[in-house]
Symmetry: C2
Subunit: 583 residues, 2 copies
């Protein structure tokens, strides 16, 4: 491609609403253009990246035996009513009425449609396994779209759906996809981690997220540097402490802590380590009557160490709290504790509550908690002496760095990631709801076993940039760069030799199938270099009059601190030595 | 591809609502699956065809210098309000409200968005010309979607938009696209015609439709077999007759024609040629006051020869009728003619009307028309004698076969076509509405000159089938066939030789880059052949035990009446001789 035949449209200024590097840089590099909140046009430079991402995904999906289909963007509501998602999903699901006032949705995913196809297609176990995928426009009406392509409303996703005859076969299909995802992310040339994820109500271990490592990532990833263990924060288990509880050494004492309503403030006032304090979190669950009105409310008290954070997914798995809990209201708290938040604790309750104790709290002695009296805390609290031994002990907290790895192979570290892929075993959730069956070897109808597998095609370039950029711009890995090589002739209009050398190298690289752009715009060298560094083309060859007289051109990788002089005759070989091998 | 790894899903029965061959055959061949009215999933076999269409279009658009972008499917209403299309377009434009009750549309085309991009991107004439295209999902909420992919609601279109500094440059960009379209349609391997089309209010000759010739086409195409002239029915001009009007030979006579309310019936009753009769069409135009209420209505009488049909586009170009006419109401007709329709004519009017006379009617003598009295017609009507010479004479009618070609090179013929492409010079219609300007050589702002260019990506396969099918199924041209070659081994499970020969040929063709499918499903020969004939793969090689013993396999093109025996060692060369050359 010659630059004069393309649209190169860089900006000095980033948009005011761009909070993250990828949003700033993709806009400044002329890769995307905002049309509305969370809605972007993919400009020529950006679309080249997206097409390369698509091509890698398509190749590897095909290689893994998945079959490409395309399902409609606009889908009739009837199917979504069959699974209940038309009602259950929030306003993220964009609902439409057509000219005949019939209900439709703009697809955020396509479980319903593919399950509808499957129940029409599959009659016998002999037709299984099958895996269908599409690379297609999706829409999620995010409440607060932001971060450019990272959390847009309209986006492109690769979604695949596997169909199997039983759970064992489904697990095998899942593993095939998990392997294909590793190949795909390897080929992208990004640093990533496949982490175990929570599989919700379905249970089992068959859910993994593919996270691109980046300091700006929205997700916390837990991993063990000395083993293979990796999980997202929701999933990563905090093991029960190995050590036994220490003996009680202090008397139970009511201590004045005026205005100290947080564990940190109390620890500071009392000159104690934060981990000697216990925080009280008050939840509630409602029992509904047949009319759906609240018949009965149970209030729960959760105790966590002062330096630990509650993990909502883990709390949602505590028997009785199963995903239906909410935070208690102020009147509910005052009715049970006789006190406002900030000074709550398990002692001196007005009304009984259900107590759930984090594993770490269960082994504490001489701890500090609220006294259920404003401006007072209790110190020297001890299990068995000041209150009964805890009955309900569970993992309620987020991992912190230094916790032991659940696989026993070391201690855990935490880093940030951007979720760009997810593989998930669905079981019969959708096939049961939509009565999608096949006849097994005995001629008996069985529900199809399913899995679903997503990759955020348009999010991936944004994640790549969050991981790979500097103050001058983007640094693309070769595999998904808009162009692999930029040839920058200096003053080609003044020097026929420079022009000829640039054209010759361009022709040579084109013939070799290298994705090269020749910058024939006639820009000043500074502007030209700034553009290509902003756009992030990984390899640059600069051809100038002075160098040419000595038979030299300059090569610089986008990560190199300085250019390397290379003999004109060797530049092609030199480039080849620096290009990433094509997978 | 091996059939066992793919989804081959043919049906014996066509859907009840399938009225045309392409809808029936694409459904039966497992290429599309209906999700809702006018909404289809593209199944694996169909998607392969669509991807080949896309690839050809993309290659030729790139070759013609167009640059690919992707614009959002869901577009904010604001831009559509700028051009007035948000209000003007009918219910075909699917309108959406998002969670914040803001208005959006699902794009039927993208003139507004691309013009918005252009007004941001283009500052100087030096950046022009540019041509942007996308291959993207579109939606038109058709009142009556039908014919499968021919008139669906969700569909894929390639839409391109050119931007130029002046009309001459825009015409050049238009010609570049018109040439690219010819290359594209040549490569598809279809019989097509580029026909002049009406360019509406913009005028000029810069509008052409690309019509795939098919007896079932919705459009009538007018062409001259002995010249290059071709136009669609709306556009094709009926020249003024060469011959002078004959002298009046009959007296004006009121003739009883009881119950004969059509020209055909009257001609039969009176034993006259139909072309001696004149039909009366009554139109009306309304003048509105400032409040938009009808202030004044003008009634028009159009006279056409009894054997001719009115052409609404041409009528809309008559001064005074400009696109705003409607058919007159019954009360309006009775008030002016004193008679019900069926017996109307220009004589004996109750109230005056504006008369518009077709060119052919203006040279008629001794003609027949309604008497403005029920059950009576006038015969022997003559201009100048029975009524004044016509003042307003115009081309009001559709061409009929045998009319002289407007280029003077022969007589016209008519055939049916399916519109699959359109190139159109837009001028400054959108740039003016959206204030999209650039600075010309003198530093003065000018509106961008635009053109737009569409190809119906998902309609094309349907049009190809309408043109190329027989009672057994589809017959794909090589370029867009889902697979180019099908290898059909007979009883491979019984004969290791057959299996080995099939696998060897498969490997050989794969290595040569031929898009081949090996039918390893183990189906009976009859079922296997029926599938591939329905699906329409153009080349088939059948390998059987009996033939192999003599060193022979069978080759059959989908259009061949019978198979040809070919020596095993020569089958690859034979195939190559029959494959369409790759453009």
């Amino acid at each position: 491609m010659k630059a004069s035949q393309f649209l190169i449209s860089t900006l000095k200024e980033a948009p005011a609403d761009a909070e993250v590097a990828s949003h700033r840089l993709m806009t400044r590099a002329g890769m995307i253009k905002k049309l509305g909140a969370g809605i972007y046009s993919y400009m020529p430079m950006g679309l080249r990246v997206i097409r390369k991402v698509e091509a890698i995904v398509r190749e590897e999906m095909n290689r893994a035996g998945a079959i490409e289909v395309t399902m409609p963007v606009i889908q009739p509501a009837e199917l979504w009513q069959e699974t209940g998602r038309f009602e259950k999903m929030g306003p993220e699901l964009l609902r439409i009425k057509d000219r005949h006032a019939r209900d439709f949705v703009v697809q955020p995913t396509s479980e319903e449609v593919i399950t509808d196809i499957a129940r029409q297609e599959f009659r016998s176990y002999k037709q299984l396994p099958k895996n269908f995928y599409q690379i297609q426009t999706k829409f999620r009406d995010e409440r607060r779209p932001r971060f450019g392509l990272m959390r847009g409303r309209e986006f492109t996703m690769k979604d695949a759906y596997s169909f199997d005859r039983d759970m064992d076969a489904a697990k095998q299909s899942y593993q095939v996809m998990a392997q294909a995802y590793r190949r795909i992310f390897d080929r992208f040339g990004l640093s990533y981690r496949a982490v175990a994820a929570d599989s919700g109500a379905i249970g089992g271990d068959l859910s993994e997220e593919f996270q691109v490592i980046a300091a700006t990532g929205e997700d916390a990833i837990v991993y063990c540097p000395t083993s293979d263990y990796a999980a997202n924060m929701e999933k990563a288990e905090a093991l029960a402490p190995q050590q036994a509880r220490g003996a009680a050494t202090q008397p139970l004492t009511k201590t004045a802590t005026p205005g100290k309503a947080t564990c940190a403030d109390v620890a500071e006032l009392l000159n104690l380590p934060l981990k000697n304090t216990v925080k009280s979190l008050v939840l509630a669950t409602d029992e509904l009557d047949e009319q759906g009105a609240v018949a009965k409310t149970q209030v729960w008290l959760l105790l966590l160490r002062g330096d630990h954070d509650m993990n909502e997914v883990k709390v949602g798995k505590v028997p009785g709290l199963n995903n239906t809990f909410r935070f208690a209201t102020l009147p509910e708290i005052e009715a049970h504790f006789g006190c406002k938040p900030g000074y709550l604790g398990p002692l001196n309750l007005v009304q009984p509550v259900k107590l759930v104790v984090d594993r770490e709290v269960a082994v504490m002695s001489d701890w500090v908690c609220g006294a259920n009296e404003a401006d007072f805390h209790m110190t020297g609290v001890n299990w068995g002496r000041d209150l009964p031994e805890p009955e309900l002990v569970a993992d309620l907290r987020n991992i912190v760095a230094g916790d032991p790895s659940p696989d026993g192979q070391g201690v855990l570290a935490i880093e940030r990631g951007i979720e760009v892929g997810h593989v998930f075993y669905l079981g019969t959730k959708y096939s049961r709801a939509m009565n999608a069956t096949f006849l097994d070897v005995n001629g008996k109808p069985q529900f199809l076993e399913m899995g679903c597998y997503g990759i955020g095609i348009t999010r991936l370039p944004a994640a790549a940039i969050e991981q790979n950029h500097d103050e001058r711009g983007i640094i693309w890995p070769d595999a998904i760069a808009p162009f692999t090589v930029a040839i920058c002739p200096i003053g080609p209009d003044r020097s026929p030799e420079v022009k000829a050398a640039a054209e010759a190298l361009y022709a040579e690289l084109m013939a070799a199938g290298v994705d090269v752009i020749l910058d024939d715009r006639g820009e000043r060298p500074g502007a030209m270099f700034a553009d290509w560094e902003l756009i992030g083309v990984p390899h640059r060859v600069t051809i100038g009059d002075k160098g040419l007289k000595e038979g030299l051109v300059e090569y610089q990788h986008r990560r190199d601190a300085a250019a390397t002089k290379v003999a004109v005759g060797e530049v092609f070989a030199h480039l080849q030595s620096r290009l990433a091998p094509v997978a």
